[in-house]
């Protein structure tokens, strides 16, 4: 006897949330289709606020996000290229109007609780954004003279213009955050001694990894740690780099280093990576941009030594390896037998990763640290062993990216609020929820643009290459204009407008089965899940995508099974349903925040 599939519980907020692949993949769970629809309606300000509410830095993220949403986009499975979600976020930010009326009011009467935020990067700023409207007195501590953290120091201006950064940072500081900038924070105990009710640590992963190879010490004046060098460029301490430059590493920092070098006058720049091109950590588009700027990326070359003559760096020696796929699918690099290669260079930028580093937190405060110097935290509450101290962003679980910092910040802000109000940070957390709202406006009328647009992904315009290479502050990507943005927005499948099925209305006429362009819907005898997945109109082989199973139907004893995998959300099932058993309903996922 096999176990028949149970009817799907669509009241569970996770069920329809998972169908909205982009939102599910986004650490901050930004309601992507919602803001894309607003862009289609030219309501850029509202689109911006939907983003601001959930990810805090739409203008910054619209240029720099790691975009976990895009590989998740359903369009990858139904066609090929995802919707340009990130660039649309930028469209909202670039074209928004005056947002002041939409911002939360900050109470003049404070609630009497004082919070310290250490480090003025995205995590701390987002916590401040969440706590200020609740009446907290928020103190922000930063060693640099200005707020922004890695967004200011590590992301070059040709990717993120300074005015975009300052606009969104100032929006938060202007809420009345008390700023303590320009002094290194050296002791957590000292902070605690100032009588804060809670402390949030958002100091990032500030230490660039070094490379201990022969010749390292002698070559020191010509070797720079990637993130430190980018910071000195950002703050104007470094204005040029001369001669031949080698960048070591395959992540986004390496891409930023090589492209910055190209702009600061290097005679030649090349990136040398120990691993294969396909497994480089840099985002696809960052690699593409570097290549488009004429920077060679040389793979499968682990570094062996620095060569120094007469106190000057001459170059580096690399081994030649090739990747061999192991039985477990992982790559192992084996020497090819070719002689080592010598690469001539005058400067080396090391961008091979970064680590957490909290020497300023005393080890007797109740916070445990693991062997990577990351604090041991509760994943849900971000509370450390010291109940007063919370962590977020890269400081919490190691290097991630800005969107994760926003996500951590919302959780930490809830915890801090509960903690300060004397509630349980775990048990009293507000739950997630889901609202379903019918989109039917009348006969064949839906409140969303249901028609499927098969257009391929639109290319984003770029600044002229020679022009942008001449100045490190000239933004390379120009962003979609309103017209292109509107066209790209039409590619969104509106995955948050759900196909909702009501068993008792169904007369099993097959109209939905016949019209569905993607063969998502089947009426069949029930079975256990693996069998059922093969009994459908088209096999449901993508196990990451759920089956929507109805209760048993009265007339035939069959069930309705819908494979969510490649549904276009075109609404034709509801359009052809004579009884309204299918309806298109917008799922609004309520992701808790302090103020909600």
């Amino acid at each position: 006897m096999t176990a028949l599939m149970k009817p799907t519980d669509i009241q569970n907020p996770d069920y329809f949330h998972k169908v909205v692949d982009c939102q599910w993949a986004c650490p901050a769970h930004t309601p992507v289709p919602e803001y894309i629809r607003l862009i289609s309606q030219e309501r850029y300000t509202e689109a911006y606020m939907v983003n601001w509410d959930s990810n805090v830095f739409p203008g910054i993220l619209g240029r720099t996000c790691d975009r976990p949403c895009e590989p998740a986009c359903r369009r990858v499975r139904t066609e090929e290229k995802p919707v340009a979600i990130c660039r649309l976020k930028r469209v909202a930010a670039d074209h928004k109007g005056d947002i002041r009326d939409y911002l939360p009011r900050i109470p003049t009467q404070k609630n009497g609780k004082k919070i310290a935020l250490i480090g003025a990067g995205p995590a701390s700023l987002a916590v401040a954004r969440d706590l200020m409207p609740m009446g907290y007195e928020v103190h922000l501590f930063e060693r640099d003279a200005k707020a922004g953290g890695m967004m200011r120091s590590q992301i070059p201006a040709f990717r993120l213009p300074m005015d975009v950064l300052e606009e969104e940072v100032n929006l938060i500081l202007d809420m009345g955050v008390v700023c303590h900038f320009g002094a290194e924070i050296t002791s957590m105990q000292a902070i605690l001694d100032q009588g804060f009710d809670a402390v949030f640590v958002g100091t990032g992963a500030p230490r660039g990894r070094d490379l201990d190879l022969p010749g390292r010490a002698e070559a020191d004046p010509f070797i720079h740690l990637g993130i430190d060098w980018l910071a000195s460029v950002a703050f104007g301490h470094t204005e040029k780099i001369e001669g031949k430059v080698v960048v070591l590493g395959g992540g986004n920092t390496a891409m930023d280093c090589c492209r910055t070098s190209r702009r600061l006058g290097a005679e030649s720049v090349q990136v040398v990576v120990r691993s294969a091109f396909e497994v480089m950590k840099a985002s696809e588009w960052e690699k593409e941009e570097a290549i488009a700027e004429g920077i060679p990326i040389i793979n499968n070359r682990p570094p062996k030594s620095f060569v120094v003559e007469d106190g000057k760096l001459k170059g580096m020696v690399f081994e030649c390896v090739e990747p061999v796929k192991q039985d477990d699918g992982r790559l192992k690099y084996v020497p090819t037998g070719e002689p080592d290669v010598f690469v001539e260079c005058d400067h080396v930028l090391i961008a091979i990763g970064q680590d957490n580093h909290c020497p300023w937190i005393e080890r007797d405060l109740g916070i445990e640290f693991d062997r990577w110097d990351c604090p041991v935290l509760d994943k849900e509450t971000l509370q450390s062993g010291n109940p007063k101290i919370f962590f977020g962003g890269d400081a919490a679980f190691g290097p991630e990216n800005i969107i994760w910092a926003s996500a951590h910040a919302h959780k930490a802000a809830i915890s801090i609020h509960l903690f300060c109000q004397g509630m349980d940070v775990k048990a009293d957390r507000p739950p997630e929820g889901v609202n379903l709202i019918s989109q039917k406006m009348g006969m064949h009328e839906w409140s969303y643009d249901s028609e499927h647009d098969p257009a391929p992904r639109y290319h984003v315009p770029h600044a002229d290459l020679a022009h942008s290479l001449a100045n490190v502050k000239i933004e390379v990507e120009l962003g979609f204009d309103r017209h292109l943005g509107a066209k790209e927005a039409q590619r969104c499948l509106n995955c948050d407008v759900q196909t909702v099925f009501t068993e008792k209305l169904c007369i099993e006429c097959d109209a939905c089965v016949d019209i569905c362009p993607m063969d998502c819907i089947t009426f069949t005898d029930n079975a256990d899940e693996p069998d059922l997945r093969q009994m459908l109109m088209a096999p449901a082989d993508n196990l990451a995508q759920d089956l929507y199973v109805s209760d048993t139907l009265a007339d035939t004893g069959r069930v309705m099974v819908k494979d969510e995998d490649v549904c276009l959300h075109c609404g034709l099932c509801a359009e052809r349903c004579p009884t309204g058993a299918w309806d298109m309903q917008k799922s609004v996922i309520n992701i808790p925040q302090v103020h909600a």
Binding site: E508, C509, D510, A538, D541, C577, P578
Partner: protein, 351 residues
């Protein structure tokens, strides 16, 4: 109907047939019938059957008369030939077309009005002549296009949407077809594609006149409680007599049924028609027995479905008339016109 065109995008794993085509390649324009109309399911079943048989669309001619049913050829096989004729006159056009070119697949789509009322005379004679075609009646027992009057197949006592009973006896088209010479007769239900698609495949491969009476509920005018052609009534009052599966040439035939219930019939193209007798006492090759069963079932308000009658050695009109094998449309003047000398000789024979 819908105003939104069905997207061309299809499931990435949609099966392809021997011609490399997906089922979607056999579709037509988007339907303008009411949402939930059974006729759309019949169209979908025809699409599926033609796809599974790997029939090239340009080798099919679709013929129809007038009515909701007769609109449907627009909604399937968009790349086939088609002729939408005068009301009730589809059989004449089908006969002419088949006479001119015996090599095409002919699919006639008609309704209970088009066939059982205005076209009843035409219907009777195309059956007698055994034109090699698949004649499908989308039978909903009502005149949907003129807002719900009883049609000639509506059962006596069945009511209109407002409750008025039908006073006249119904015409059973399947029974008529068996009686006057059809060599393949089946009845099915638009809501049961598992039964309908194999029957359509067998009918398309049948080398004679194949008739399918498909009960196809009208959701707008004949799907209420007093109707005997509603989704609910049909589902609860049918019994399948026999079904037929067409097994392609390349598939190995394995017998896994109880002896006596399954019989294989060799088809002219080398495939096999497998008959499953689902009802113990029913023999689909017994013409008189079939009519007897249909009448007895109808007496008690039950609907006998499935393959009702099969002549497994059928003859068609071309065989009856002893025409040449080559389609007449391909013959030149030399073959078609024997010349004045021959005419003189014939005329002389009458003097």
């Amino acid at each position: 109907m819908t105003f939104v065109a069905k997207p061309r995008t299809h499931h990435p794993k949609l099966p392809r047939n021997d011609l490399g085509l997906t089922r979607r390649d056999y579709e037509g324009a988007v339907s303008t019938l009411c949402a939930g109309c059974g006729h759309d399911s019949v169209s979908a079943a025809i699409i599926q059957a033609c796809h599974e048989l790997s029939i090239p669309a340009h080798r099919v001619a679709k013929l129809s008369g007038i009515g909701c049913s007769s609109k449907t050829p627009t909604y399937f096989l968009g790349k086939s030939h088609g002729f939408n004729s005068v009301h009730g006159r589809m059989p004449s056009v089908a006969t002419g077309a088949n006479m001119a070119n015996r090599e095409l697949y002919y699919i006639g789509i008609s309704g209970d009005g088009d066939t059982a009322s205005i076209g009843l005379g035409q219907f009777a004679h195309i059956v007698r002549r055994r034109i090699n075609m698949t004649y499908v009646v989308d039978n909903n027992g009502t005149y949907g296009l003129t807002k719900g009057q009883f049609s000639a197949t509506n059962d006596k006592g069945s009511t209109s949407k407002k409750g008025a009973p039908n006073l006249y006896e119904p015409i059973d088209l399947a029974m008529m077809a068996i009686q006057i010479g059809a060599t393949f007769v089946a009845r099915s239900f638009s809501g049961d594609k598992a039964q309908l698609v194999p029957l359509l495949k067998a009918a398309l491969k049948h080398e004679g006149f194949a008739f399918l009476d498909v009960i196809s509920p009208c959701v707008a005018f004949n799907n209420h409680n007093g109707s005997t052609k509603s989704y609910e009534y049909v589902r609860s009052h049918t019994e399948t007599m026999a079904v037929a599966d067409l097994i392609p040439i390349r598939d190995e035939i394995r017998v896994d049924y109880a002896p006596g219930t399954v019989e294989d019939v060799a088809m002219p193209d080398g495939s096999t028609l497998r008959l499953h007798k689902l009802h113990r006492d029913y023999d689909p090759r017994d013409r008189v027995g079939a009519m007897d069963t249909l009448m007895r079932r109808a007496e008690v308000g039950e609907i006998a479905t499935g393959l009702l009658y099969l002549d497994d050695d059928p003859s068609d009109c071309h065989e009856i008339l002893n025409t040449v094998n080559a389609p007449l449309a391909t013959l030149g003047e030399a073959e078609l016109c024997p010349g004045s000398e021959r005419l003189e000789a014939i005329n002389a024979a009458f003097r």
